[in-house]
Amino acid sequence: MKKKTLAMLLSWTLILAVILTGCNNAGSGGGSDSGSNAGGGDSGTDGKVTLKFMHLWPAGSSAQQNKLVNDIIQQYQTDNPNVTIKQEVLENEQYKNKLKILSASNELPDVGVTWAAGFLEPYVKGSLFAPLDELLNGSLGEKFIAGTTEAYAVDGKTYALPIELNISPIYYNKAIFDKYNLQPPATYDEFLNVVKTLNDHGEVPIALGNKDRWTGSLWYMYLANRVGGDALEKAINGSGKFDDPALTQAAAEVQKLVDMNAFNKGFNGLSNDEGKSEFMNEKAAMYLMGTWELPNFTTNPDIPQEFKDKVGFFKFPTIDGGKGDINSWVGGPGVGLFAAQNSKVKDEAQKFIQYFVEKWGESSVTEAGVIPATKVDTAAVQLPQLYIDLLNELNQASSLTLFADVQMKPAAAQAHLDMIQALFGKAVTPEDFVKNHQAAIDKGN
């Protein structure tokens, strides 16, 4: 009997201990949390405010951007001593997943990163993002390059502010081109000739990692644009159809390139990073990618200058008889910042977004070497030539076509990406390729 009481006593103490420590933690955590929220509710008082900020520039893979974010946050905290900013950093793919899960439980961070158009729409429809039109109507509005904020608007309200603007050139290795006396091609026939010459000499013409699918999508989008003008955009937004012969022809061109061995071997099983490394290691001559890669060719100290000097770019060539002109680009605003609709410190979040966009605009050029969505004064700073050239191209762009998987709604985007991989893997005919696209678009949502 004595033993039994002892055992009972022991187990109860254990349970109590667990409960008490649990409560204690929850208590203190909850306390500081509610304190900060109460303070944030009216940012006029000198109460402490904690802002949660989730972004996708880890120190490992986006070193320049990560440093920039930290600088901005530090400055902001110095200027606003009552504000503490808690960062959460995730890789691109994990970021998207976490955002999704947080949305389902309605626990979004106060400020976060989002993509435009079709990606943003479900979040807006679920009233998770706060409209930011007030910021746009203020002094911030005129800082954006015309047309960049529209991609973040749903039903006339803007739900996120862009911080990047991208176009996608074909980067090429000048040394490899020189070796075979090749010039950057201006027409598609010349381009095919470049591919053929490189192939004949045992060089890999184009680096591609199509496991990620959107990488192959860039090639298809350009071909669709050069053959059919804005046919693809129209088919996506519903004002046209995928049965436009230009879209089938573009798909056929992709398979023609595959048949010519234009891309590195096994591209459908390689991620974009693996594909990119073929180009970075000078094992492939060309690489089609967004200008977010610019730091690797200009400012990133980890890449040898010798390689950086070899990198040039050209615009996607025009196709004889096609409708697209050479100055229309695949690109558009990259990621933007949103404020959560149910954030308890919404005012503070908006203030931070305004601050972030301005600072990012000023320093992203010089420090990270990426092109911001706000206007850049190139005269004031010393910039790499490659950067200036691309910025000039951007200013002369006749049209910017937003990446197809961002334009489309999630389910259709997924179908598009799967179809792209099938097309490159020759698992689908160009005719079925467009047919399946139409079916996915028709399904809606």
Partner: protein, 293 residues
């Protein structure tokens, strides 16, 4: 202590914390998944009740059946590979030189996380400068395949690291079971003139049948819900050629924003796992368990 345990209240008290955790982390999510499977839901906005529509769609979804097919292939391969593991364990449990070293070698993959293993095998399978293709080229194959980009090969290319990953686990289980057999039994058999084969197949294997049954269930159910290596290495591609049920569920819920359908796939997967486990237990049930006295 027996006295303490005979008190039902105390016993319940000890079980309660684990039971609560299990309930909150396992059983409630299972019920919720089944519930979401009845909804049309993008994971963010409002849910609409659509009855069994997701399930009827599932039955007619050829991509789902394709991935289910891949899953069953994986389960089959896992079950068959157990024979190999068993053989290795039999050899290791005998008195051979270096058995200790081999045991450690087999166990090492267990220590690595799936993602690390995936990265390692991505390097091995790299189409142009991977270890495998470099080797094949060195011994005279002029154009070895791009293993992870070839729809007809990718699934089998993935099975290799998956089976390799779990080899140590099963070998360890078998090894422990075999070591548990009293030496005196084997000694007696040897004196009666049994050769090593007879000892292995007439004495050792029958004595560990219960363990073998458990590993079969573990291997089959484990492969039915297999996800991580495939997700990292191929993401189900190219063009669905390496999609399994779990990765298909993930794709529907998190990529296509179709949480309802994804939940239906998940719930269906659970049902399949339950049925298969039940069938396996049924098929391997035996009344007379052999015991060493």
């Amino acid at each position: 202590m027996d006295k303490v345990m005979s008190n039902r209240l105390v016993a319940a008290l000890y079980v309660l914390p684990a039971l609560l955790l299990l309930l909150v982390l396992v059983y409630i999510p299972i019920v919720l998944t089944g519930y979401y499977g009845l909804m049309q839901w993008d994971g963010i906005g409002a849910m609409t009740f659509i009855g069994l529509d997701n399930y009827t769609r599932l039955i007619q979804d050829s991509t789902f059946w394709q991935s289910a097919n891949h899953t069953f292939l994986l389960a089959l391969f896992s079950a068959l590979s157990l024979i190999g593991y068993l053989m290795i364990a039999l050899v290791l449990s005998g008195k051979i030189k270096g058995a200790n070293l081999f045991r450690k070698i087999y166990l090492i993959p267990m220590l690595l996380s799936s993602v690390a293993i995936a990265q390692l095998w991505l390097k091995i399978y790299h189409p142009s400068n991977g270890v495998l293709n470099s080797f094949l080229e060195a011994i005279g194959f002029s154009n070895p395949p791009a293993w992870l980009a070839e729809p007809s090969l990718v699934l089998y290319a993935l099975f290799v690291p998956i089976l390799w990953q779990y080899a140590g686990f099963y070998i360890l289980i078998y090894y422990a079971a075999l070591k548990n057999i009293p030496e005196s039994l084997i000694e007696a058999a040897r004196i009666d003139g049994a050769n090593p084969w007879q000892i292995a197949f007439r004495i050792k294997l029958p004595l560990i049948t219960e363990v073998i049954k458990v590993t079969v269930v573990l291997a089959v159910v484990g492969s039915l819900k297999y996800f991580d290596l495939i997700y990292v290495m191929t993401d189900g591609g190219p063009n669905g050629a390496s999609e399994v049920m779990a990765s298909y569920m993930y794709r529907q819920a998190f990529r296509s924003f179709d949480f309802g359908y994804g939940s239906a796939v998940g719930f269906f997967l659970l049902l399949i796992c339950l049925v298969v486990t039940w069938l396996l237990r049924k098929a391997t049930a035996s009344k007379d368990t052999i015991q060493y006295s």
